[in-house]
């Protein structure tokens, strides 16, 4: 039954271009002609150099922003605003610092009209599931970075999303915590199998987690390559999977593709700096 409902939730971007107006009147193209598909229940990682529009892709799918050209469809319907079945995990904590951990997790159900008692019980269950039983009445600032991420995960998953969008969710964590969190994410994902778009610049993380890795070019971002990750599931501990032979092969293969883009993005970010310096010189 559930898988039938879920099967509606294919994410499709076709010919998507996104331009922003810059403060000085120019337009900045973040994405150019992006076409990609995420199958229902598929875990798709998007990698690319910084500033290539990875996060923009997510805001378009989430309905927080609209594409300048092209179409974004979820379950066959064009995205027109925030949809019900979507959850988002942000790079920085989006937890409300004035609410307790329990209240933060219960926020989604409460917004959707679930009776308070039921929402709080549900939130308690989710906290137990992410290993935070006993922290219900703490405030977010009393928790470590990893714990806050768990709360954010629980808060996103309690709504039983069919689409889970994650924007470098573990980017701010130390390497060990990151690996633990990744393993836990896979366990949680496996329970309800939402379609996932996971944006990261960490290639190892992408391979360890995903069914498919999409490489974006240096900005304006467009799809350069798509790699299928054929590592068997369940993958178990993310820390150990990295030592497998197939993992190394895939890593090598994808890095070949990614390297040029990273180099190009780097060259570009250092170039404007010298141009700015030149302008300054002319001015003075």
């Amino acid at each position: 039954m559930q898988s039938n409902i879920r099967s509606d939730y294919r994410i499709e971007l076709s010919g998507v271009t996104k331009r922003f107006a810059t403060p000085d009147g120019d337009t900045f193209t973040a994405l150019r002609d992006v076409t990609m598909t995420v199958e229902p229940g598929e875990f798709c990682a998007v990698v690319g150099p910084s500033g290539c529009g990875k996060s923009t892709t997510l805001t378009l799918v989430a309905g927080l922003d609209r594409a300048s050209e092209g179409t974004v469809t979820v379950g066959g319907k064009p995205v027109a605003g925030i949809g019900r079945g979507t959850s988002f995990v942000f790079q920085t904590d989006a937890l409300l610092p004035w609410k307790t951990v329990l209240r933060n997790v219960a926020m989604g159900p409460l917004f959707r009209g679930v009776p308070k008692k039921e929402a709080l019980t549900d939130a308690g269950d989710w906290l137990r599931m992410v290993g935070l039983a006993g922290f219900e009445n703490h405030h977010p600032h009393q928790l470590s970075g990893g714990m806050r991420k768990r709360v954010a995960l629980a808060a996103a998953l309690i709504n039983e999303p069919s689409i889970l969008l994650m924007d470098e969710p573990f980017g701010a964590l130390d390497v060990q915590t990151k690996a633990i969190m990744s393993t836990e994410l896979l366990t949680l994902w496996d329970q309800s199998k939402p379609s996932v778009i996971f944006v990261t610049h960490d290639l190892e993380e992408a391979i360890a987690l995903a069914d498919k890795v999409v490489v974006l070019t240096a900005g304006p971002g467009t799809v350069k390559d798509v790699f299928r990750i054929d590592l068997p599931r369940p993958r178990g501990s993310v820390q150990e999977i990295r030592f497998g032979q197939r993992f190394t092969e895939l890593h090598h293969e994808i890095w070949e593709s990614l390297r040029d883009e990273v180099t190009r993005a780097y060259a570009r970010t250092s170039a404007p700096a010298s141009r700015v310096a030149a302008v300054e010189e002319v001015r003075s």
Partner: protein, 265 residues
């Protein structure tokens, strides 16, 4: 109490003694004329007189309660209005674009002068003072609430929207609590303005209140009376400040403890 803390308290007491002792001494020795500058002992005896025998406008408690009532009512109305207007303008870009030049213009006016108008409009009773106080308070709170709403973390808002929050739910759960730090910070200043509004309103024309007492002292060339009125107002303001501090600690209890906060007070 540490040695350092003891030293500070001792020095603070010394400042008090030097200022008031010096004042008393210089006026006693007629180096400074107590007729114009008042005298601590005279101030105390004037105040005592008021407490024991009342003032020419009724008991001192009536004057204090009148002023307090005006200030508190004005404070309440001004804060409510300022928060509502600040949130509305902060949330609805169109509204703020349309109204902001007018608000800036009104803010640039010396609003205290409007007290004279309110006395004509609303008479010598309490309402003219309440309106003046509310008017002064409104702007302080409004600008802070507006700024607070504008500074709300966009991530928090987006997250709440994606979790299913309607506009009202987002305002209630995210925007207002987030702006609360700003709003509460403004309350300290705002209460001062409420008292100023009430007193100035009374000075401009009233039957009761501390402002009337001060004007009366002025008309009688009674410097001690002016100082006594001032000190009573100061004491009230200090109590109010303390109460707002309590409120602040309660409403912002979720904030991480700042280690140097206690030391700073």
């Amino acid at each position: 109490m540490t040695r350092r803390r003891l030293g500070i308290v001792a020095a603070q007491l010394a400042v008090l003694v030097i200022v008031f002792g010096g004042w008393q001494l210089f006026t006693q020795l007629k180096i400074v004329d107590p007729f114009f500058f008042g005298q601590p002992s005279g101030i105390v005896s004037t105040a005592w007189q008021w407490v024991q025998h009342g003032t020419s406008f009724g008991s001192i408690w009536l004057q204090i309660s009148t002023t307090m009532e005006e200030a508190l009512l004005g404070f309440g109305i001004g804060v409510a209005g300022g928060v509502v207007a600040g949130v509305l303008l902060g949330q609805f870009r169109f509204l703020s674009d349309v109204l902001s030049p007018y608000i800036k213009a009104v803010n640039a006016l010396p609003r205290i002068v409007l007290g004279a108008l309110f006395v004509i409009l609303l008479g010598l009773g309490m309402s003219s003072k309440v309106v003046l106080a509310a008017f002064l308070v409104f702007f302080v709170v409004f600008f802070n609430a507006y700024q607070g709403v504008r500074e709300v973390d966009g991530n928090l808002v987006n997250n709440a929207r994606i979790l299913g929050g309607s506009r009202m739910q987002v305002i209630r759960n995210v925007v207002i609590p987030s702006a609360m730090t700003w709003i509460i910070a403004s309350l300290h200043v705002a209460f001062g303005f409420a008292v100023i509004g009430a007193i100035v309103g009374e000075v401009l024309g009233a039957q009761h209140g501390l402002g009337v007492l001060i004007t009366d002292s002025q008309n009688n060339f009674n410097a001690d009376g002016i100082f006594a009125g001032m000190i009573i107002i100061g004491a009230i303001a200090l109590i109010a400040e303390w109460l707002i501090g309590l409120l602040e600690r309660r409403l912002l209890a979720w904030r991480p403890q700042m280690s140097n906060e206690a030391a700073a007070v």
